[in-house]
């Protein structure tokens, strides 16, 4: 790595004054750190974004950038059951373009570099047309076109089933694609007809468009668009075998890129290298080479940034030690950022439990938990402005978010006591409320993650004041069988949320596949049922908001906080950790300072 000799001197001069500044700050959030022209919040929006979509902007060319993240890249096809993990997406976002990009605020923009439009052409039945831009190619020169969309749909729709009802394609998820039947009108037009309305169609074809021509050539399939559920089993099997296993790891010839970058090198468990795609249709520029390196320990990541081995840190798991370290390095020109991430911690209540089946116990429990205190202790070091989460379905940045838990979970032990007292519960000699032979006592079950243990520790102390006894149940295998069998009183774990809400239905509807807590709120069921059958996303969101409020009124599950992502960088103009796509989502726009 080259390095200008003048830089250290400047850094030293700058540090003298900035160290003083940092001390005065009193350890508050440095999300608006020094040196940047724009604040961290502004970095959530890509430079190339405009009202009608995203177009890659002119970007200064620069040298190599090394980016660290928690885990290693493993596969080029991230849509399979075996491979699916965010850390693949972190690298693939630059090489496999899709219909939309998702910015740091989880807002979709049409990817106008490669797309003409995505439109609903009929409401009933719902038909959506994806129009692709002409002239987009993969780095091997083949066209990026409707074939690739067809493959993405066909492989993830589970429309073709084996004779024994088994799956050919082992897709990680089929949501949305399974409601659709797809066809290529021409090379640039993909038409999807939905068997039932699907408001979240904007979430399709964004990160799963793979080179169909490679599969055709290597699997011996003449034309992927001619494959359908009625094709010969052997032909589908050939395609599926390739799709399931051959896009693992990295093989240069099988893995071209159609985005601003292509994968060029891979060291298993360590790093994956991306280089600028010479055939990229959008504006050229950005770092010549990006190395995405796995450094599992967050403190080690921070030290590597301090030591100049990497230019960007990106961590999907919050870590207070690394945060302290990175914030302390602002004098050396390191910008630290933290923002709410994908997943949120929550306490699910098991309705089969006789004590918790009583509404007043749930009400009192919600009331005694001091969520802000938990956040202050566990999250604030990372994200100083973190607040309790007020919804199970929406994140604060989402359209339609309303805090429906603020009044229900005030962290007020006196109020909690009153709730129980009013319902006829009396405090026993041990300080725990009891009524009709039931004691206000239950376990909180969770896995052995230290943060969860600490959360329970804090809740134990808080609810003790309210006469509720909370027991700790740490079980490393809790999320394996027990959680889905409903074998718990209160479960502490995290769900991943996202901009699209249809996935929430199976968690909260009566008898839903992931409704392990036996929650049953008829009004919410009705609202959610209606919500997922809307064609328009905003109508759907309103209904989800209604369901959210109904669930809150039933005191079914208490959202605690959104887990923050954190990242830091040095020498670059703007970096933002996009919760799904990682730090590289707009790396083609990075410029050196």
């Amino acid at each position: 790595m080259r390095r200008t000799k003048a830089l250290p001197a400047i850094a030293l001069v700058a540090s003298a004054s900035l160290v003083l500044g940092a001390c005065g700050g009193g350890g508050g959030g440095s999300s608006d750190a020094n040196g940047g022209d724009s604040t961290i919040a502004e970095m959530a929006v890509a430079r190339g974004e405009s009202a009608d979509g995203y177009t890659a902007p002119e970007t200064k060319e620069s040298d190599q950038v090394v980016v660290s993240t928690d885990k290693a890249f493993t596969a080029y096809n991230n849509a399979t059951e075996d491979a699916n993990q965010s850390y693949n997406t972190f690298a693939l976002v630059l090489t496999q373009p899709g219909a939309h990009i998702l910015n740091g605020n989880n807002k979709y923009s049409l990817n106008k570099n490669v797309m003409e439009s995505v439109e609903v052409t009929s409401k009933s039945p719902q038909v959506v047309t994806w129009k692709l831009k002409k002239g987009v190619t993969w780095s091997d020169g083949e066209a990026w076109d409707c074939d690739d969309f067809y493959l993405a749909w066909f492989s993830q729709s589970n429309s073709a089933k084996k004779a024994d009802a088994g799956k050919y394609f082992k897709a990680a998820g089929t949501t949305g694609y399974d409601l659709m039947s797809g066809e290529c009108k021409d090379d640039q037009t993909f038409v999807g007809s939905f068997s039932s309305p699907y408001p979240d169609y904007i979430g399709l074809f964004n990160n799963d468009v793979l080179p169909a021509h490679i599969l055709e050539k290597n699997a011996g399939v003449a034309d992927i668009t001619k494959l359908n559920k009625d094709s010969a089993a052997a032909d589908i099997q050939k395609a599926a075998d390739f799709w399931n296993e051959k896009w693992n790891g990295f093989t240069k010839d099988l893995m071209p890129g159609a985005g601003p970058y292509v994968l060029t090198a891979f060291e298993p468990n360590q790093s994956v290298t991306l280089e600028r795609n010479p055939k990229w249709i959008g504006a050229k520029g950005g770092p010549a080479k990006i190395i995405l390196k796995a450094v599992p320990d967050p403190v080690a990541q921070a030290q590597a940034l301090e030591n100049g081995e990497v230019a960007v840190n990106s961590m999907a798991q919050p870590d207070a030690n690394a945060a302290t370290k990175l914030k302390g390095l602002s004098a050396q020109g390191i910008t630290f950022g933290a923002g709410p991430g994908l997943s949120f911690e929550h306490l699910d209540i098991q309705f089969k439990n006789p004590v918790l089946a009583k509404e007043e116990v749930r009400k009192a429990f919600f009331m005694c938990v001091k969520r802000q205190d938990i956040i202050d202790k566990l999250i604030s070091e990372v994200q100083s402005d973190a607040k309790p989460l007020g919804s199970l379905i929406f994140f604060p940045k989402d359209e339609g978010y309303k805090d429906v838990y603020a009044e229900k979970a005030k962290g007020d032990p006196a109020a909690a006591k009153k709730i129980l007292g009013d319902a006829g519960w009396t405090q026993g000699a041990d300080g725990v409320f009891a009524k009709d032979g039931l004691r206000a006592s239950f376990r909180i079950s969770h896995t052995d993650i230290p943060r969860r243990k600490q959360t329970v520790e804090l809740i134990q102390g808080q609810c003790k004041e309210a006469g509720i006894e909370v027991k700790d149940d740490t079980d490393p295998n809790f999320l394996d069988e027990r959680v889905s069998q409903g074998d718990y009183d209160v479960a502490l774990f995290a769900w991943s949320g996202g901009p699209l809400k249809s996935d929430k239905k199976s968690i909260y509807e009566t008898g839903g596949g992931q409704n392990w807590q036996n929650l049953s709120v008829p009004a919410a069921d009705a609202a959610m049922k209606e919500a997922v059958s809307q064609t328009s996303i905003s109508d759907s969101l309103k209904l989800f908001a209604k369901a959210d409020e109904e669930i809150a009124n039933a005191y079914g599950s208490l959202p605690l906080f959104q887990m923050p992502n954190m990242w830091a960088f040095k020498g670059l103009d703007r970096v933002y950790f996009q919760s799904y796509y990682g730090a590289l989502w707009n790396a083609n726009e990075w410029q050196t300072k």
Partner: protein, 332 residues
């Protein structure tokens, strides 16, 4: 000798088999590699069952072990079955990790051995000198030092050292987060610079601990020899001090250290795992921790098979070396 080696290897076979079965059962009952799948949107219990059947996880442990064993012995080490691992093949994954750990350990151990023997011999020859006290107390301190703390300290001060270098207008030298992606390129000088920068910190951390053991061991065995009758006889015959030390005492004092070098493998491995973790090398340690976290039996079994075989080999080497160096011991 060959007969002895063969017999030793034959004895190892049932031990390796029993050990592998115990490990397999332990791993298989510890947890479910597909647990995380439950949290993917839209995944039903039926999908989960289907995935379990596809991986053979529905079969009894004994049958799974048998299948693993027969595959393993026929050279098919299988694939990772953990989610997110994209069916990585076990064999290359384990050998890569072994190579990563190996390049770190071999250098550190050789350095530790050389330094340890040198310091040990000097300390024994100059018994009760300042050097001896210094060497002994350093070794004792290092010995009582948790290796991870040494690694953490070395790493943090390494970064500070780089800052000093940079403030003097020089390039940053030492790296802290694993080998450089893409290997070492550039002119000869640059390669040396990068190579030493990459290896220095973890090597020092790993070396310090082993060095303590070797130097103390060498000092003790050297002392024992120096006080033995045949050395006294040699001295009495008027052979020069240097000749006594190197021709007579040193050679004999090397015997226990050389066996320690091979037998110490287990301790060195765990030291390497810790050093690796602190310095972000994706070697055997990372592989072990990841495959345990994900309850990935094929990967873990590959890991255990390789380490167990190496331990058996190193033990054998230790005995053979012992037999060669010390003619009083007959193997057979």
């Amino acid at each position: 000798m060959i007969q002895y080696i063969l017999r030793r290897l034959l004895i190892s076979i049932p031990i390796l088999l029993i050990g592998s079965f115990a490990c397999y059962v332990l791993v298989a009952t510890a947890g479910n590699p597909l647990a995380e799948m439950r949290f993917r949107p839209g995944v039903t219990e039926a999908d989960l069952r289907a995935a379990e059947v596809a991986l053979g996880l529905d079969k009894p442990v004994v049958i799974r072990y048998w299948n693993w064993l027969t595959d393993f012995l026929s050279g098919d080490w299988g694939q990772s079955i953990a989610l997110g691992q994209a069916k990585t093949a076990v064999f290359p994954a384990v050998t890569d990790a072994l190579w990563t750990t190996g390049r770190l350990v071999i250098g550190a151990e050789l350095l530790a051995l050389t330094l340890g023997v040198a310091v040990g011999v000097l300390a024994a020859v100059r018994q009760y000198s300042i050097f001896d006290y210094l060497a002994t107390s350093t070794a004792f301190l290092m010995f009582s030092m948790p290796i991870f703390c040494v690694a953490v300290i070395v790493k943090n001060y390494g970064i500070q050292f780089n800052n000093v270098l940079e403030s003097m207008g020089l390039d940053r030298w030492l790296t802290t987060a694993g080998p450089r992606p893409g290997g070492f390129t550039g002119s000869f000088g640059e390669v040396i610079f990068k190579y030493t920068g990459t290896f220095l910190l973890p090597t020092v951390a790993l070396m310090l601990i082993s060095f303590a053991a070797y130097s103390r061991f060498e000092r003790a065995s050297m002392l024992e020899i120096l006080h033995s009758d045949f050395v006294r006889t040699a001295r009495a015959k008027g052979i020069s001090q240097g000749r006594v030390i190197f021709r007579h005492a040193f050679r004999n004092a090397l015997i226990p250290v050389s066996t320690l070098f091979s037998l110490n493998f287990g301790a060195v491995l765990s030291g390497a795992i810790i050093t690796e973790t602190v310095f972000g090398w994706a070697g055997m340690g990372t592989l072990l921790v990841n495959s345990v976290r994900q309850f990935d039996p094929p990967m873990l079994m590959g890991w255990l098979a390789v380490t167990a075989t190496l331990i058996v080999l190193f033990n054998l080497i230790a005995d053979v070396v012992y037999g060669i160096l010390d003619p009083r011991i007959r193997l057979g």
